[in-house]
Symmetry: C2
Subunit: 327 residues, 2 copies
């Protein structure tokens, strides 16, 4: 028999969730924490059923993992040094099973064990549609990545391939536009993993900090590519008031990524890639790509009204590659 949340009652649900929380935190409505660094980064992301995730393509553990990863990816895109923890707010229908909720928390827990940080507490309510809200808090050190920090002459670097999560979704929903028989098994496994259990730019960030040439200042522009590669670049160009020139032969594609549509589009703006998009002084960019596997130089930054262009001067239209809108 399925045990539903409205059969358990709020007090008992919170009691059962205690095992996932930092000891003692659930006794009060607020969590207390002594931070080792007062320079903090804080970020809230909201995830809606059938907008950001679906039970038809992801297990509840995957949903828990991915919401945490997406949130921490934003902190990584700002240069986070250390992750203190997260809070979780969940609104879900009263008929939701306890088992589903417990598995979401298990996935959250797995992600925190992997990425770092503690579960600091949260809130729960009934609703018609499931919504998760995650707030992550971390600290920042010497390197603060800003979208507005790009400079003329910078080199644009990605920390990894793009489009995999979108391919994973296509495979999981049997998208008729692709013939999965033509794809390598390893690409398919990689794509489904990228969709269900994504990694973040945290490892790339550590390398980036460690590989900085000593005479290069701590100035780099960056963001994550959770809204897609082109959206990330566009936001850097707008915030920094500059142009990004991309080499069409150097797009950050995965191994054995096919040619043509929809592949080009998914690489350019499939979304949910959670990689770092960086604009770096040339010597730092060279040092980074020499050190971090799968990272790639994809273009450069020049002065001018914010836009994206190919190396031949042709403008890249965001709408051509648009895949996803939150509204």
């Amino acid at each position: 028999m399925i045990e539903r949340l409205n059969q358990i009652g709020e007090r008992e649900i919170l009691n059962r969730l205690k095992k996932f929380m930092v000891k003692g935190q659930i006794e009060d409505d607020t969590a207390q924490l002594t931070l080792t660094n007062p320079n903090i980064l804080i970020n809230t992301d909201i995830f809606v059923e059938n907008v950001h995730f679906s039970d038809s393509t992801m297990s509840p553990q995957d949903i828990g993992w991915k919401t945490v990863a997406a949130n921490i990816s934003d902190l990584a895109g700002s240069g986070v040094d250390h992750i203190f923890g997260i809070t979780v707010g969940i609104a879900t229908p009263a008929k939701t099973s306890w088992s589903w909720l417990e598995k979401v928390y298990q996935g959250i827990n797995d992600a925190l064990n992997h990425f770092g940080g503690q579960l600091l507490g949260g809130d729960l309510s009934r609703s018609n549609q499931t919504v998760l809200s995650i707030t992550a808090i971390g600290s920042v050190g010497k390197l603060r990545l800003h979208r507005s920090y790009a400079k003329n002459g910078d080199i644009i670097v990605t920390s990894g391939p793009h489009g995999l999560s979108r391919l994973g979704l296509a495979l999981l929903t049997n998208n008729p536009n692709i013939n999965s028989d033509n794809l390598s098994k390893s690409l398919k496994i990689q794509a489904i993993k990228a969709h269900q259990r994504p990694q973040t730019g945290l490892a790339a960030l550590t390398t980036l900090k460690n590989c900085k040439p000593s005479l290069t200042p701590w100035r780099a522009a960056g963001t994550d590519s959770s809204d897609g590669l082109l959206n990330a670049l566009q936001s850097i160009c707008e915030s920094s008031y500059c142009q990004a020139i991309l080499d069409p032969n150097q797009l950050p594609k995965a191994n054995s990524w096919p040619l043509g549509l929809p592949w080009e589009k998914w690489c350019m703006n499939g979304g949910e890639d959670f990689e770092l998009i960086l604009s770096l002084p040339s010597e730092w960019a060279q040092s980074f790509v020499a050190t971090f596997p799968l990272s790639k130089i994809i273009g450069s930054i020049q002065k001018g009204d914010p836009k994206l262009m190919w190396t031949n001067g042709e403008e890249i239209s965001l709408s051509t590659f648009s895949e996803f809108e939150h509204f």
Copy 2:
């Protein structure tokens, strides 16, 4: 013509919301802050349309104000010293008007101007039902209120009257159980204000800190009464493993509060009162009620298996007074 969110697009919505944010924060997905005190309190609350609020009884400005107040009330119930700010996540239908969203943010802004703290950022997504998620971050000093800190012999104190918000809701929904002609005008105004534009325990907390007798240690149990007076007391008894003895003649009722049902029930557990419920050493309790207007001694704490009792020894059954369940 009503301008709907899906006609505006996410980028433009975020652009328009810039005016409410701390300068520069919206350029990146994360907010950066240098805290003046590393001992922090953090709390996330989730508010669901037609569970926690309704457009039929509250303006969008009220909804913004009340969600912030409810969140800050939790920090107050933990003894917060200073509020740094909040993040806001909103999921709302694509057809929601820009005007509604802007007014919610205006209410959030008004509340922050009143209670303190900055709007640090947030997230926005479409959904079927409106959900707000607020995360507040503050610091804590010498006084950390815990539910688990009550001691045998403590005096139970409330910072203000209870049941007003529930009465406000009854008035706003023309509840047939009450005859509003029999109520004083000032009670009605007070009740509607308590429902739509609630205050928090912040002022009481400041007084509590200032009025502590110098030889009394910084030990007090406390929580807010957002889930109702009895629920607050029950949670203190369970966390501290003790019993609360209440004087039926000293319930924290507002001036000219009628006798009988539903009035007793609404005072005891109407919910959304956002007052402080404190368990204090006798001398501190006396000093507090002598100083803070509308505060009241309502009972005392004794040893024993967690339960609530009247002074005549009769047990108070929570279910008799139960009004509200999140599930």
